[in-house]
Symmetry: C2
Subunit: 213 residues, 2 copies
DNA sequence: AACATTCTGTGAATTTAAACACAAAAGGGG
DNA sequence: CCCCTTTTGTGTTTAAATTCACAGAATGTT
């Protein structure tokens, strides 16, 4: 068996996908080289070749990788060709933005249900979906065999929502609430913490501009 | 001079901040230990102690770290006490969500200007800010000496917006557009690519459920 | 058809990060 | 006041990721 792809390599694959896609849109070239990708992304070229060996694609020496094939192999490997239906809990600003965002479609993500506990919101139309009562969450997940749950609630509700999702047999959670979910089951959790990422900027600015003492 | 903090360590600090903050809100304890943090976050306890040595805080053997002090040292180190004013370009769904999001305040981030090129949007009120014409971007950045630019435009505009920001002497860019910005200047770029992060989920689901062949 | 060039694929070396392991410090209990 | 337990701080080890370096393949050129 082939060695499992390391996490950092997996994290780079979507970047390759992005570059090769835009390359195909802009240029009329059949092949793309690791050095081109390297220039676009500031990633060592041997690193790129090594990453591409994990997914099963071969390049041609002196020529490069078949660009269309590379794009499709990446898309397949990353699961973009699969239909990934998700439900979202917490129809605030962020939840609404995600629900209405069109950019996910090409990655196979389709948000098919919205839930909230606020009576003011239940029944409202967001995008082309009606906000459903959180009470119905488990039932809907089970009925439609939904695999992905997106949590955009305030932090204090996230844990209990996650537990409900898991009880309904969800497989992966995309968590935008700023808490670390405490989960025993073998569920895939992807945490997305905007404030956390802002810290990099905040710290950088503090480092570079020590205005006071 | 003390050794520079490694990127992975820096990335963990906001998590410590989050845990110690909630710890202080919930419990009435003066001290917090690395093993407690370790349990909450699933991070090796010696790793945590090593991380905390980069910021200048000392713990007490057999007792732990002073929780309030830890929280404040983290906040200071991460720049949360600084006022970080930012302008945002691209008032779509995501831009609106970020502009209206209250959660950034406690990290010192304040969005003080919104810009768009769409005449339909210019003049609209989003949160308590009026959307300004993109033409005025450079002028406003310079006038108020803004350090942070947030890009939530479609991918194809991101590069040119970034260049305008840089011309106006911005210091850091938080880029939500799914492109790699090509920048020579010594500017801090923080890329935020939701679709990219969704790939982890997508790939996981594909791995665990090989439905077809 | 020999040669130069350019790109892939991959062992080997290097660098970086994480985990282990334990001495030393602090405090509590008998 | 001595021993036991807990927790920090850190030298050392292990593991992982990245980079180096180069053989070998494909192609163009003279």
């Amino acid at each position: 068996m082939v060695k499992k792809i390391p996490k950092p390599s997996l994290a780079r694959l979507p970047k390759y996908y992005q570059v090769v896609t835009s390359y195909l849109n802009r240029k009329n070239e059949k092949y793309i080289s690791s050095s081109y990708l390297s220039d676009c992304l500031n990633i060592d070229d041997s690193q790129i070749r090594r990453d591409l060996m994990y997914i099963e694609i071969g390049g041609i020496p002196r020529v490069g990788y078949d660009a269309k094939e590379l794009r499709d192999v990446l898309a397949d490997y990353l699961g973009y060709f699969n239909l990934n239906e998700a439900i979202l809990v917490g129809v605030g600003n962020l939840g609404t933005a995600l629900a209405e965002y069109k950019g996910f479609e090409r990655y196979g993500l389709s948000i098919v249900g919205l839930f909230d506990s606020d009576p003011e919101k239940i029944g409202n139309l967001v995008g082309n979906l009606k906000v459903d009562n959180i009470e119905n969450l488990e039932q809907v997940i089970k009925k439609f065999n939904i695999k992905i749950g997106i949590i955009t609630t305030p932090a204090r509700y996230a844990q209990q929502i996650a537990e409900k999702m898991i009880k309904a047999n969800i497989k992966a959670i995309w968590n935008f609430a700023p808490v670390t979910l405490d989960i025993d089951e073998d569920i895939f959790i992807q945490d997305e913490n905007l404030a956390e990422n802002f810290s990099f900027i905040s710290h950088y600015l503090k480092e570079t501009e020590p205005e006071k003492e």
